[in-house]
Protein backbone atom coordinates (compact mmCIF):
# COMPACT_ATOMS: atom_id res chain seq x y z
CA UNK A 1 0.00 0.00 0.00
CA UNK A 2 1.33 3.35 -0.85
CA UNK A 3 -0.68 5.18 1.73
CA UNK A 4 1.52 7.45 3.78
CA UNK A 5 -1.22 8.35 6.19
CA UNK A 6 -4.35 6.39 6.75
CA UNK A 7 -7.13 7.55 9.01
CA UNK A 8 -9.79 5.06 9.88
CA UNK A 9 -13.01 5.69 11.73
CA UNK A 10 -11.56 8.67 13.56
CA UNK A 11 -13.80 10.16 16.18
CA UNK A 12 -12.73 13.30 17.95
CA UNK A 13 -15.23 14.59 20.44
CA UNK A 14 -15.14 17.90 22.24
CA UNK A 15 -16.66 17.71 25.66
CA UNK A 16 -17.86 20.86 27.29
CA UNK A 17 -20.69 21.73 29.60
CA UNK A 18 -21.17 17.99 29.84
CA UNK A 19 -22.26 18.22 26.22
CA UNK A 20 -20.46 16.12 23.70
CA UNK A 21 -19.68 17.70 20.38
CA UNK A 22 -18.71 14.95 17.96
CA UNK A 23 -16.72 17.30 15.76
CA UNK A 24 -15.06 14.47 13.93
CA UNK A 25 -17.39 11.56 13.70
CA UNK A 26 -15.96 8.64 11.86
CA UNK A 27 -13.58 10.04 9.30
CA UNK A 28 -11.85 7.73 6.85
CA UNK A 29 -9.26 9.03 4.52
CA UNK A 30 -5.81 8.31 3.25
CA UNK A 31 -2.97 10.36 1.88
CA UNK A 32 -0.81 8.64 -0.64
CA UNK A 33 2.86 9.20 -1.14
CA UNK A 34 3.53 12.25 -3.22
CA UNK A 35 -0.04 13.29 -3.77
CA UNK A 36 -1.98 16.33 -2.70
CA UNK A 37 -5.17 15.46 -0.95
CA UNK A 38 -7.70 18.22 -0.66
CA UNK A 39 -10.19 18.36 2.18
CA UNK A 40 -13.13 20.67 1.61
CA UNK A 41 -16.21 21.36 3.57
CA UNK A 42 -18.09 24.12 5.28
CA UNK A 43 -16.88 25.88 8.30
CA UNK A 44 -17.02 23.77 11.41
CA UNK A 45 -17.33 20.45 9.64
CA UNK A 46 -14.26 19.16 11.41
CA UNK A 47 -11.45 19.77 8.95
CA UNK A 48 -9.12 21.39 11.42
CA UNK A 49 -10.09 19.01 14.19
CA UNK A 50 -9.08 16.13 11.98
CA UNK A 51 -5.73 17.58 11.15
CA UNK A 52 -5.01 18.55 14.74
CA UNK A 53 -5.85 15.05 15.81
CA UNK A 54 -3.28 13.75 13.38
CA UNK A 55 -0.70 16.09 14.87
CA UNK A 56 -1.97 15.32 18.36
CA UNK A 57 -2.15 19.04 18.99
CA UNK A 58 -5.64 19.17 20.41
CA UNK A 59 -6.14 20.86 23.76
CA UNK A 60 -5.29 18.63 26.68
CA UNK A 61 -8.66 18.94 28.30
CA UNK A 62 -12.14 18.78 26.94
CA UNK A 63 -11.25 16.46 24.08
CA UNK A 64 -11.84 12.77 23.71
CA UNK A 65 -10.63 10.67 20.88
CA UNK A 66 -13.46 8.23 20.95
CA UNK A 67 -12.27 5.88 18.33
CA UNK A 68 -10.31 5.21 15.20
CA UNK A 69 -6.74 4.82 14.18
CA UNK A 70 -4.26 7.06 12.42
CA UNK A 71 -1.61 5.00 10.71
CA UNK A 72 1.41 6.90 9.60
CA UNK A 73 3.78 4.60 7.84
CA UNK A 74 3.72 1.58 10.12
CA UNK A 75 2.72 3.14 13.39
CA UNK A 76 -0.55 4.30 14.91
CA UNK A 77 0.03 7.89 15.87
CA UNK A 78 -2.68 7.71 18.47
CA UNK A 79 -0.71 5.09 20.34
CA UNK A 80 2.62 6.86 20.40
CA UNK A 81 3.95 8.30 23.60
CA UNK A 82 4.22 12.05 23.84
CA UNK A 83 8.01 11.85 23.43
CA UNK A 84 7.73 9.65 20.35
CA UNK A 85 5.11 11.93 18.94
CA UNK A 86 7.43 14.90 19.35
CA UNK A 87 9.88 13.19 17.04
CA UNK A 88 7.20 12.94 14.40
CA UNK A 89 5.97 16.48 14.73
CA UNK A 90 7.85 18.91 12.60
CA UNK A 91 10.25 16.24 11.54
CA UNK A 92 8.05 13.85 9.61
CA UNK A 93 4.74 15.60 9.58
CA UNK A 94 4.74 19.37 9.45
CA UNK A 95 1.86 21.74 9.56
CA UNK A 96 1.04 25.20 8.25
CA UNK A 97 -1.82 27.15 9.72
CA UNK A 98 -4.36 29.51 8.34
CA UNK A 99 -3.26 32.69 10.06
CA UNK A 100 0.25 33.66 9.06
CA UNK A 101 -0.21 36.81 11.10
CA UNK A 102 -0.49 35.06 14.42
CA UNK A 103 1.26 31.79 13.84
CA UNK A 104 4.72 33.23 14.35
CA UNK A 105 5.93 34.17 17.78
CA UNK A 106 6.02 37.97 17.81
CA UNK A 107 8.89 38.30 20.24
CA UNK A 108 11.52 36.30 18.40
CA UNK A 109 13.20 36.95 15.09
CA UNK A 110 12.41 34.89 12.04
CA UNK A 111 15.87 33.38 12.26
CA UNK A 112 15.46 32.30 15.85
CA UNK A 113 12.21 30.57 15.05
CA UNK A 114 13.49 28.92 11.92
CA UNK A 115 16.64 27.57 13.53
CA UNK A 116 14.77 25.87 16.35
CA UNK A 117 13.54 23.15 14.03
CA UNK A 118 16.83 21.77 12.86
CA UNK A 119 18.60 22.20 16.15
CA UNK A 120 15.82 20.23 17.75
CA UNK A 121 15.42 17.42 15.24
CA UNK A 122 18.71 17.27 13.48
CA UNK A 123 20.96 18.48 16.24
CA UNK A 124 22.47 21.22 14.10
CA UNK A 125 24.82 23.73 15.64
CA UNK A 126 23.89 27.35 15.65
CA UNK A 127 25.89 28.18 12.59
CA UNK A 128 24.65 25.16 10.68
CA UNK A 129 21.10 25.92 11.63
CA UNK A 130 21.46 29.47 10.46
CA UNK A 131 22.86 28.43 7.11
CA UNK A 132 20.09 25.94 6.73
CA UNK A 133 17.47 28.51 7.62
CA UNK A 134 18.80 30.96 5.06
CA UNK A 135 18.76 28.18 2.54
CA UNK A 136 15.15 27.50 3.32
CA UNK A 137 14.19 31.15 3.05
CA UNK A 138 15.77 31.27 -0.36
CA UNK A 139 13.86 28.19 -1.36
CA UNK A 140 10.58 29.88 -0.62
CA UNK A 141 11.65 32.83 -2.76
CA UNK A 142 12.21 35.30 0.00
CA UNK A 143 14.43 38.10 -1.17
CA UNK A 144 17.13 39.38 1.18
CA UNK A 145 17.02 36.14 3.18
CA UNK A 146 19.96 37.07 5.41
CA UNK A 147 18.33 40.28 6.46
CA UNK A 148 14.95 38.76 7.04
CA UNK A 149 16.56 36.32 9.47
CA UNK A 150 17.04 39.11 11.96
CA UNK A 151 13.68 40.72 11.50
CA UNK A 152 10.62 40.22 13.60
CA UNK A 153 7.37 38.81 12.26
CA UNK A 154 5.55 42.13 12.54
CA UNK A 155 7.97 43.64 10.08
CA UNK A 156 6.84 41.27 7.35
CA UNK A 157 3.74 41.27 5.23
CA UNK A 158 1.19 38.48 5.36
CA UNK A 159 2.45 36.78 2.25
CA UNK A 160 6.04 36.87 3.51
CA UNK A 161 5.02 35.42 6.80
CA UNK A 162 3.20 32.59 5.16
CA UNK A 163 6.34 31.88 3.16
CA UNK A 164 8.31 31.82 6.37
CA UNK A 165 5.77 29.41 7.79
CA UNK A 166 6.18 27.21 4.77
CA UNK A 167 9.95 27.42 5.02
CA UNK A 168 9.70 26.44 8.64
CA UNK A 169 7.41 23.53 7.90
CA UNK A 170 9.66 22.29 5.12
CA UNK A 171 12.93 22.74 6.92
CA UNK A 172 13.15 19.21 8.28
CA UNK A 173 12.06 17.81 4.94
CA UNK A 174 8.88 16.26 6.26
CA UNK A 175 7.16 13.56 4.32
CA UNK A 176 3.75 14.94 4.95
CA UNK A 177 2.72 18.55 5.04
CA UNK A 178 -0.63 19.41 6.51
CA UNK A 179 -1.74 22.79 5.31
CA UNK A 180 -4.82 24.05 7.11
CA UNK A 181 -6.28 26.76 4.92
CA UNK A 182 -2.86 28.21 4.18
CA UNK A 183 -4.09 30.95 1.89
CA UNK A 184 -7.49 31.85 3.25
CA UNK A 185 -6.15 34.93 5.01
CA UNK A 186 -4.29 36.16 1.97
CA UNK A 187 -5.20 38.27 -1.01
CA UNK A 188 -5.82 36.57 -4.33
CA UNK A 189 -2.65 37.80 -5.93
CA UNK A 190 -0.63 36.67 -2.93
CA UNK A 191 -2.58 33.43 -2.76
CA UNK A 192 -1.55 32.73 -6.31
CA UNK A 193 2.08 33.21 -5.34
CA UNK A 194 1.82 30.89 -2.36
CA UNK A 195 -0.03 28.17 -4.22
CA UNK A 196 2.57 28.36 -6.93
CA UNK A 197 5.28 27.99 -4.36
CA UNK A 198 3.64 24.98 -2.74
CA UNK A 199 3.26 23.25 -6.03
CA UNK A 200 6.88 23.87 -6.84
CA UNK A 201 8.10 22.54 -3.52
CA UNK A 202 5.96 19.49 -3.79
CA UNK A 203 7.35 18.73 -7.19
CA UNK A 204 10.92 19.22 -6.03
CA UNK A 205 10.77 17.38 -2.75
CA UNK A 206 8.00 14.93 -3.34
CA UNK A 207 6.26 15.83 -0.14
CA UNK A 208 2.73 14.64 0.32
CA UNK A 209 0.30 17.41 1.13
CA UNK A 210 -2.96 17.34 2.97
CA UNK A 211 -4.52 20.62 1.90
CA UNK A 212 -7.48 21.83 3.86
CA UNK A 213 -9.55 24.52 2.27
CA UNK A 214 -13.09 25.60 1.69
CA UNK A 215 -12.30 27.11 -1.68
CA UNK A 216 -13.17 24.78 -4.55
CA UNK A 217 -11.04 26.90 -6.85
CA UNK A 218 -7.97 26.13 -4.80
CA UNK A 219 -8.90 22.49 -4.78
CA UNK A 220 -9.23 22.43 -8.52
CA UNK A 221 -5.84 23.98 -8.98
CA UNK A 222 -3.86 22.09 -6.40
CA UNK A 223 -5.23 18.71 -5.59
CA UNK A 224 -5.02 15.23 -7.00
CA UNK A 225 -7.75 13.80 -4.89
CA UNK A 226 -10.44 15.44 -2.78
CA UNK A 227 -12.33 14.52 0.32
CA UNK A 228 -15.53 16.41 0.99
CA UNK A 229 -16.60 16.65 4.60
CA UNK A 230 -19.95 17.54 6.03
CA UNK A 231 -20.83 17.73 9.71
CA UNK A 232 -17.90 15.69 10.94
CA UNK A 233 -18.10 13.03 8.29
CA UNK A 234 -16.59 12.33 4.93
CA UNK A 235 -19.48 12.51 2.49
CA UNK A 236 -17.60 12.12 -0.74
CA UNK A 237 -14.19 11.23 -1.98
CA UNK A 238 -12.98 11.33 -5.54
CA UNK A 239 -10.13 12.33 -7.73
CA UNK A 240 -10.34 15.94 -8.61
CA UNK A 241 -11.63 15.52 -12.15
CA UNK A 242 -14.38 13.14 -11.16
CA UNK A 243 -15.40 15.42 -8.40
CA UNK A 244 -15.89 18.42 -10.62
CA UNK A 245 -17.28 16.46 -13.54
CA UNK A 246 -19.71 14.25 -11.74
CA UNK A 247 -20.09 14.91 -8.08
CA UNK A 248 -22.05 12.11 -6.53
CA UNK A 249 -23.27 13.45 -3.23
CA UNK A 250 -26.10 15.99 -3.28
CA UNK A 251 -24.14 18.22 -0.93
CA UNK A 252 -21.18 18.35 -3.29
CA UNK A 253 -23.53 18.98 -6.14
CA UNK A 254 -25.19 21.82 -4.32
CA UNK A 255 -21.84 23.25 -3.37
CA UNK A 256 -20.66 23.26 -6.97
CA UNK A 257 -23.79 25.01 -8.14
CA UNK A 258 -23.77 27.67 -5.50
CA UNK A 259 -20.39 29.12 -6.40
CA UNK A 260 -20.59 32.21 -8.56
CA UNK A 261 -18.37 31.83 -11.58
CA UNK A 262 -15.89 34.44 -12.51
CA UNK A 263 -16.10 33.56 -16.15
CA UNK A 264 -19.79 33.18 -16.68
CA UNK A 265 -22.93 35.12 -15.93
CA UNK A 266 -25.68 33.52 -13.97
CA UNK A 267 -29.02 35.12 -13.30
CA UNK A 268 -29.42 33.29 -10.10
CA UNK A 269 -27.24 31.10 -8.05
CA UNK A 270 -28.44 27.78 -6.87
CA UNK A 271 -28.20 27.55 -3.18
CA UNK A 272 -28.49 24.94 -0.52
CA UNK A 273 -31.28 25.97 1.77
CA UNK A 274 -30.95 25.90 5.51
CA UNK A 275 -27.95 25.55 7.74
CA UNK A 276 -25.47 22.92 8.75
CA UNK A 277 -26.92 21.02 11.69
CA UNK A 278 -25.34 21.41 15.05
CA UNK A 279 -22.86 18.62 15.70
CA UNK A 280 -24.53 15.80 17.49
CA UNK A 281 -28.00 17.17 16.86
CA UNK A 282 -28.84 14.67 14.14
CA UNK A 283 -29.70 11.56 16.03
CA UNK A 284 -30.11 9.26 13.12
CA UNK A 285 -30.04 9.25 9.41
CA UNK A 286 -28.13 11.31 6.93
CA UNK A 287 -26.77 14.57 8.30
CA UNK A 288 -27.55 16.36 5.10
CA UNK A 289 -31.12 15.15 4.97
CA UNK A 290 -32.67 18.36 6.21
CA UNK A 291 -31.15 20.32 3.32
CA UNK A 292 -31.19 17.68 0.66
CA UNK A 293 -33.40 18.09 -2.43
CA UNK A 294 -33.55 14.32 -2.88
CA UNK A 295 -34.51 13.44 0.63
CA UNK A 296 -36.50 10.29 1.17
CA UNK A 297 -37.89 8.77 4.30
CA UNK A 298 -35.01 6.38 4.66
CA UNK A 299 -32.57 9.25 4.71
CA UNK A 300 -33.86 10.56 8.01
CA UNK A 301 -33.74 7.18 9.67
CA UNK A 302 -30.70 5.44 8.50
CA UNK A 303 -27.25 6.82 8.07
CA UNK A 304 -25.95 5.97 4.62
CA UNK A 305 -22.59 4.26 4.50
CA UNK A 306 -19.75 5.47 2.33
CA UNK A 307 -20.50 3.70 -0.90
CA UNK A 308 -17.57 2.76 -3.04
CA UNK A 309 -18.18 3.87 -6.60
CA UNK A 310 -16.28 3.47 -9.75
CA UNK A 311 -12.89 5.10 -10.21
CA UNK A 312 -12.13 5.25 -6.51
CA UNK A 313 -15.02 7.61 -5.90
CA UNK A 314 -16.90 7.20 -2.69
CA UNK A 315 -20.14 8.81 -1.60
CA UNK A 316 -22.25 8.74 1.52
CA UNK A 317 -25.69 8.85 -0.03
CA UNK A 318 -28.44 6.31 -0.50
CA UNK A 319 -28.83 7.47 -4.08
CA UNK A 320 -25.62 5.70 -4.86
CA UNK A 321 -26.65 2.42 -3.34
CA UNK A 322 -27.33 0.80 -6.66
CA UNK A 323 -24.28 2.18 -8.38
CA UNK A 324 -22.08 1.07 -5.54
CA UNK A 325 -19.48 -1.59 -5.98
CA UNK A 326 -19.61 -4.49 -3.65
CA UNK A 327 -17.33 -3.29 -0.90
CA UNK A 328 -19.03 -0.87 1.32
CA UNK A 329 -17.42 0.93 4.20
CA UNK A 330 -19.69 1.47 7.08
Amino acid sequence: MNNLLEIKGLQTHFVSDRRVNPAVDGVDLAVRKGETLGIVGESGCGKSATSLTVMRLLPKTGVRIAGGTIHYKEQDLLKLSEAEMRKVRGNEIAMIFQEPMTSLNPVYTIGQQLCEMVTLHWGYSKAQARDHAIQMLKKVNIPRAEKIMDEYPHQLSGGMRQRVMIAMAMSCEPELLIADEPTTALDVTIQAQILDLMRELKEKQGTSIMLITHDLGVVAEMCDRVVVMYAGQVVEEADVYTLFDSPAHPYTQGLMRSIPKVDADQRRLDSIPGNVPLPGSVASGCRFASRCPHVESRCTQQMPPLFQLEGGQRSRCWLQEEAALKEVTA
Binding site: M95, V107, M168
Partner: protein, 318 residues
Protein backbone atom coordinates in the same frame (compact mmCIF):
# COMPACT_ATOMS: atom_id res chain seq x y z
CA UNK B 1 17.71 59.22 24.54
CA UNK B 2 15.41 61.63 22.76
CA UNK B 3 12.58 59.47 23.80
CA UNK B 4 13.63 59.62 27.42
CA UNK B 5 13.79 63.36 27.33
CA UNK B 6 10.42 63.57 25.66
CA UNK B 7 8.82 61.22 28.09
CA UNK B 8 10.13 63.26 30.97
CA UNK B 9 8.88 66.42 29.34
CA UNK B 10 5.48 64.85 28.94
CA UNK B 11 5.51 64.05 32.61
CA UNK B 12 5.99 67.69 33.49
CA UNK B 13 2.34 68.72 33.20
CA UNK B 14 1.32 65.67 35.18
CA UNK B 15 3.74 66.49 37.93
CA UNK B 16 2.67 70.12 37.91
CA UNK B 17 -0.89 68.95 38.26
CA UNK B 18 0.11 66.74 41.13
CA UNK B 19 1.72 69.65 42.91
CA UNK B 20 -1.30 71.83 42.32
CA UNK B 21 -3.53 69.10 43.64
CA UNK B 22 -1.43 68.63 46.73
CA UNK B 23 -1.27 72.30 47.30
CA UNK B 24 -5.00 72.82 47.03
CA UNK B 25 -5.79 69.74 49.01
CA UNK B 26 -3.52 70.80 51.82
CA UNK B 27 -5.02 74.22 51.93
CA UNK B 28 -8.47 72.72 52.13
CA UNK B 29 -7.45 70.96 55.30
CA UNK B 30 -8.83 72.66 58.35
CA UNK B 31 -6.19 73.58 60.86
CA UNK B 32 -3.48 75.79 59.51
CA UNK B 33 0.16 74.93 60.10
CA UNK B 34 0.74 77.70 62.61
CA UNK B 35 -2.07 76.50 64.85
CA UNK B 36 -1.06 72.91 64.63
CA UNK B 37 2.65 73.49 65.00
CA UNK B 38 2.24 75.69 68.01
CA UNK B 39 -0.15 73.34 69.68
CA UNK B 40 -2.74 73.64 72.36
CA UNK B 41 -1.36 76.41 74.50
CA UNK B 42 -0.46 78.83 71.74
CA UNK B 43 -1.79 82.33 72.02
CA UNK B 44 -3.45 83.98 69.03
CA UNK B 45 -0.54 86.42 68.84
CA UNK B 46 1.96 83.61 68.62
CA UNK B 47 -0.09 81.98 65.91
CA UNK B 48 -0.22 85.23 63.97
CA UNK B 49 3.51 85.70 64.30
CA UNK B 50 4.03 82.16 63.10
CA UNK B 51 1.71 82.61 60.14
CA UNK B 52 3.63 85.68 59.18
CA UNK B 53 6.91 83.88 59.50
CA UNK B 54 5.74 80.91 57.47
CA UNK B 55 4.39 83.17 54.78
CA UNK B 56 0.91 81.81 55.23
CA UNK B 57 -0.59 85.26 55.04
CA UNK B 58 0.31 85.60 51.42
CA UNK B 59 -2.22 84.75 48.74
CA UNK B 60 -2.21 81.04 48.11
CA UNK B 61 -1.19 81.43 44.49
CA UNK B 62 1.85 83.41 45.59
CA UNK B 63 2.71 80.72 48.09
CA UNK B 64 2.49 78.11 45.41
CA UNK B 65 4.56 80.05 42.93
CA UNK B 66 7.17 80.75 45.55
CA UNK B 67 7.41 77.11 46.43
CA UNK B 68 7.50 76.13 42.79
CA UNK B 69 10.23 78.65 42.14
CA UNK B 70 12.29 77.01 44.85
CA UNK B 71 11.65 73.56 43.45
CA UNK B 72 12.77 74.64 40.01
CA UNK B 73 16.04 75.71 41.54
CA UNK B 74 16.33 72.33 43.18
CA UNK B 75 15.24 73.52 46.59
CA UNK B 76 12.39 71.60 48.11
CA UNK B 77 12.23 74.04 50.98
CA UNK B 78 12.50 73.48 54.67
CA UNK B 79 10.17 71.66 56.95
CA UNK B 80 7.75 73.96 58.72
CA UNK B 81 8.19 71.95 61.87
CA UNK B 82 11.86 71.44 62.33
CA UNK B 83 13.37 73.65 59.65
CA UNK B 84 15.49 70.89 58.28
CA UNK B 85 15.68 70.72 54.51
CA UNK B 86 12.86 68.65 53.10
CA UNK B 87 15.24 66.89 50.76
CA UNK B 88 17.17 65.69 53.79
CA UNK B 89 14.01 64.41 55.44
CA UNK B 90 13.12 62.56 52.31
CA UNK B 91 16.57 61.05 51.99
CA UNK B 92 16.37 59.85 55.53
CA UNK B 93 13.05 58.17 54.98
CA UNK B 94 13.46 56.75 51.52
CA UNK B 95 15.87 53.88 52.21
CA UNK B 96 13.48 52.06 54.51
CA UNK B 97 10.61 52.40 52.07
CA UNK B 98 12.74 51.44 49.11
CA UNK B 99 13.96 48.42 50.96
CA UNK B 100 10.44 47.49 51.87
CA UNK B 101 9.27 48.05 48.31
CA UNK B 102 12.03 46.03 46.76
CA UNK B 103 11.67 43.29 49.33
CA UNK B 104 7.95 43.15 48.82
CA UNK B 105 8.35 43.05 45.10
CA UNK B 106 10.96 40.32 45.20
CA UNK B 107 8.80 38.23 47.50
CA UNK B 108 5.86 38.83 45.21
CA UNK B 109 7.80 37.73 42.15
CA UNK B 110 9.28 34.70 43.87
CA UNK B 111 5.84 33.47 44.74
CA UNK B 112 3.91 34.69 41.74
CA UNK B 113 6.02 33.43 38.88
CA UNK B 114 6.17 29.74 39.74
CA UNK B 115 2.60 29.70 41.00
CA UNK B 116 1.34 31.57 37.97
CA UNK B 117 3.09 29.27 35.55
CA UNK B 118 1.94 26.15 37.32
CA UNK B 119 -1.66 27.16 37.43
CA UNK B 120 -1.77 28.50 33.90
CA UNK B 121 -0.24 25.42 32.39
CA UNK B 122 -2.49 23.10 34.31
CA UNK B 123 -5.76 25.01 34.16
CA UNK B 124 -8.53 23.53 36.27
CA UNK B 125 -6.20 21.13 37.99
CA UNK B 126 -5.91 20.96 41.74
CA UNK B 127 -2.72 22.99 41.54
CA UNK B 128 -4.62 25.66 39.68
CA UNK B 129 -7.49 25.63 42.12
CA UNK B 130 -5.24 25.71 45.13
CA UNK B 131 -3.08 28.51 43.90
CA UNK B 132 -6.09 30.44 42.68
CA UNK B 133 -7.69 30.05 46.04
CA UNK B 134 -4.59 31.10 47.88
CA UNK B 135 -4.01 33.96 45.53
CA UNK B 136 -7.51 35.27 45.95
CA UNK B 137 -7.15 34.70 49.65
CA UNK B 138 -3.93 36.65 49.62
CA UNK B 139 -5.61 39.48 47.80
CA UNK B 140 -8.34 39.51 50.37
CA UNK B 141 -6.37 39.64 53.56
CA UNK B 142 -6.08 43.20 54.76
CA UNK B 143 -2.32 43.41 54.94
CA UNK B 144 -2.37 45.37 58.15
CA UNK B 145 -4.33 42.60 59.74
CA UNK B 146 -1.90 40.07 58.40
CA UNK B 147 0.85 42.21 59.87
CA UNK B 148 -0.89 42.19 63.23
CA UNK B 149 -1.35 38.46 63.11
CA UNK B 150 2.29 38.00 62.19
CA UNK B 151 3.29 40.04 65.18
CA UNK B 152 1.03 38.06 67.45
CA UNK B 153 2.31 34.81 66.14
CA UNK B 154 5.95 35.22 65.24
CA UNK B 155 6.92 37.92 67.66
CA UNK B 156 4.69 37.45 70.68
CA UNK B 157 3.87 33.76 70.72
CA UNK B 158 7.00 32.32 69.19
CA UNK B 159 9.42 35.14 69.77
CA UNK B 160 11.28 34.36 66.57
CA UNK B 161 11.35 37.83 65.16
CA UNK B 162 11.44 41.31 66.59
CA UNK B 163 7.98 42.79 66.79
CA UNK B 164 9.11 45.93 65.12
CA UNK B 165 11.78 48.49 64.99
CA UNK B 166 13.73 49.31 61.92
CA UNK B 167 17.49 49.06 61.88
CA UNK B 168 19.22 50.51 58.85
CA UNK B 169 20.98 47.90 56.80
CA UNK B 170 24.23 49.79 56.98
CA UNK B 171 24.09 49.67 60.74
CA UNK B 172 23.36 46.05 61.31
CA UNK B 173 22.49 43.95 58.27
CA UNK B 174 21.25 41.00 60.23
CA UNK B 175 19.00 43.04 62.47
CA UNK B 176 17.78 44.86 59.43
CA UNK B 177 16.81 41.66 57.69
CA UNK B 178 15.12 40.12 60.70
CA UNK B 179 13.16 43.32 61.18
CA UNK B 180 12.08 43.39 57.56
CA UNK B 181 10.93 39.79 57.24
CA UNK B 182 7.45 40.29 58.63
CA UNK B 183 6.57 43.55 56.93
CA UNK B 184 7.92 42.33 53.62
CA UNK B 185 5.96 39.11 53.88
CA UNK B 186 2.80 40.84 55.00
CA UNK B 187 2.72 43.09 51.97
CA UNK B 188 4.49 40.74 49.61
CA UNK B 189 1.91 38.00 49.97
CA UNK B 190 -0.83 40.30 48.85
CA UNK B 191 1.05 41.66 45.90
CA UNK B 192 2.19 38.21 44.89
CA UNK B 193 -1.44 37.22 44.71
CA UNK B 194 -2.19 40.04 42.34
CA UNK B 195 0.80 39.28 40.17
CA UNK B 196 0.08 35.60 40.14
CA UNK B 197 -3.45 36.14 38.92
CA UNK B 198 -2.20 38.46 36.25
CA UNK B 199 0.46 36.06 35.09
CA UNK B 200 -1.99 33.20 35.10
CA UNK B 201 -4.55 34.90 32.95
CA UNK B 202 -2.08 36.35 30.53
CA UNK B 203 -0.24 33.06 30.23
CA UNK B 204 -3.52 31.24 29.73
CA UNK B 205 -4.35 33.61 26.96
CA UNK B 206 -0.95 33.22 25.37
CA UNK B 207 -1.15 29.45 25.61
CA UNK B 208 -4.09 29.61 23.25
CA UNK B 209 -2.24 31.69 20.72
CA UNK B 210 -1.55 30.34 17.27
CA UNK B 211 2.19 30.62 17.63
CA UNK B 212 2.11 28.31 20.63
CA UNK B 213 0.39 25.75 18.48
CA UNK B 214 3.11 26.35 15.91
CA UNK B 215 5.75 25.72 18.53
CA UNK B 216 4.14 22.46 19.52
CA UNK B 217 3.84 21.53 15.87
CA UNK B 218 7.59 21.88 15.57
CA UNK B 219 7.93 19.09 18.07
CA UNK B 220 9.02 21.04 21.12
CA UNK B 221 8.54 19.87 24.68
CA UNK B 222 5.91 21.51 26.77
CA UNK B 223 8.45 23.05 29.12
CA UNK B 224 10.35 24.53 26.20
CA UNK B 225 7.17 25.92 24.73
CA UNK B 226 6.19 27.48 28.03
CA UNK B 227 9.50 28.96 29.00
CA UNK B 228 10.73 30.01 25.62
CA UNK B 229 7.64 30.78 23.64
CA UNK B 230 4.88 31.59 26.06
CA UNK B 231 6.43 33.29 29.06
CA UNK B 232 7.99 36.22 27.29
CA UNK B 233 4.75 36.97 25.52
CA UNK B 234 2.81 36.76 28.75
CA UNK B 235 5.00 39.24 30.50
CA UNK B 236 3.65 42.51 29.16
CA UNK B 237 0.57 42.70 31.40
CA UNK B 238 2.67 41.39 34.26
CA UNK B 239 5.13 44.21 33.77
CA UNK B 240 2.28 46.69 33.70
CA UNK B 241 0.94 45.34 36.93
CA UNK B 242 4.37 45.28 38.46
CA UNK B 243 4.77 48.92 37.58
CA UNK B 244 1.48 49.76 39.21
CA UNK B 245 2.41 47.74 42.26
CA UNK B 246 5.79 49.34 42.70
CA UNK B 247 4.39 52.80 42.11
CA UNK B 248 1.67 52.09 44.60
CA UNK B 249 4.04 50.74 47.20
CA UNK B 250 6.32 53.75 47.17
CA UNK B 251 3.78 55.99 48.79
CA UNK B 252 1.31 53.43 49.93
CA UNK B 253 3.06 51.58 52.68
CA UNK B 254 1.82 53.91 55.38
CA UNK B 255 0.00 51.27 57.33
CA UNK B 256 2.71 48.66 57.11
CA UNK B 257 5.18 51.28 58.17
CA UNK B 258 3.13 52.25 61.17
CA UNK B 259 2.41 48.70 62.28
CA UNK B 260 6.04 47.78 62.19
CA UNK B 261 7.32 51.20 63.23
CA UNK B 262 9.37 51.62 60.11
CA UNK B 263 10.43 55.19 59.56
CA UNK B 264 9.41 55.19 55.94
CA UNK B 265 8.31 57.55 53.31
CA UNK B 266 4.60 56.93 53.62
CA UNK B 267 4.75 57.59 57.30
CA UNK B 268 6.65 60.78 56.67
CA UNK B 269 3.86 61.99 54.44
CA UNK B 270 1.13 61.05 56.86
CA UNK B 271 2.91 62.51 59.84
CA UNK B 272 3.55 65.65 57.90
CA UNK B 273 -0.08 65.89 56.93
CA UNK B 274 -1.03 65.54 60.57
CA UNK B 275 1.55 68.13 61.52
CA UNK B 276 0.44 70.36 58.68
CA UNK B 277 4.01 70.43 57.56
CA UNK B 278 2.90 71.47 54.11
CA UNK B 279 6.31 72.00 52.66
CA UNK B 280 7.37 68.50 53.56
CA UNK B 281 4.16 66.97 52.25
CA UNK B 282 4.49 68.83 48.98
CA UNK B 283 8.10 67.83 48.60
CA UNK B 284 7.42 64.24 49.46
CA UNK B 285 4.47 63.88 47.13
CA UNK B 286 6.46 65.52 44.40
CA UNK B 287 9.18 62.94 44.87
CA UNK B 288 6.55 60.25 44.97
CA UNK B 289 5.09 61.43 41.67
CA UNK B 290 8.55 61.59 40.17
CA UNK B 291 9.23 58.05 41.24
CA UNK B 292 5.97 56.96 39.68
CA UNK B 293 7.01 58.66 36.47
CA UNK B 294 10.35 56.91 36.56
CA UNK B 295 8.72 53.57 37.26
CA UNK B 296 6.37 54.08 34.34
CA UNK B 297 9.30 54.94 32.18
CA UNK B 298 11.09 51.77 33.23
CA UNK B 299 7.94 49.83 32.46
CA UNK B 300 7.84 51.30 28.99
CA UNK B 301 11.45 50.47 28.37
CA UNK B 302 10.83 46.96 29.61
CA UNK B 303 7.91 46.62 27.24
CA UNK B 304 10.16 47.41 24.35
CA UNK B 305 12.76 44.95 25.60
CA UNK B 306 10.17 42.22 25.88
CA UNK B 307 8.15 42.84 22.80
CA UNK B 308 9.80 44.09 19.61
CA UNK B 309 6.43 45.20 18.28
CA UNK B 310 6.29 47.89 20.90
CA UNK B 311 8.53 50.72 19.98
CA UNK B 312 9.81 52.70 22.89
CA UNK B 313 7.80 55.84 22.87
CA UNK B 314 4.55 54.39 21.74
CA UNK B 315 2.16 55.11 24.51
CA UNK B 316 0.92 51.93 25.95
CA UNK B 317 -2.73 52.62 26.39
CA UNK B 318 -4.34 50.01 28.49
Amino acid sequence: MRFLVRRLLLAVPVILLVTIMVFSLLHLLPGDPATVILGQEATPEAIDAMREELGLNQPIVMQYLKWLGGVLQGDLGRSLVDHSPVSELIWQRLPATLELTIGTFVVALLIAIPAGILSATRPNSWIDYTSTFFALGGMSVPHFWLGMMFIVFFAVKLGWLPASGYVPFTENPLANITAMIMPVLATGLRESAILMRMLRSSLLEVMHADYIRTAYAKGHKESFVIFRHALKNALVPVVTTSGLIVAGLLGGLVITESIFSIPGFGKLIVESIYNRDFVTVQGAILVCALMVVVVNLLVDILYAVIDPRIKVGKEAEQ
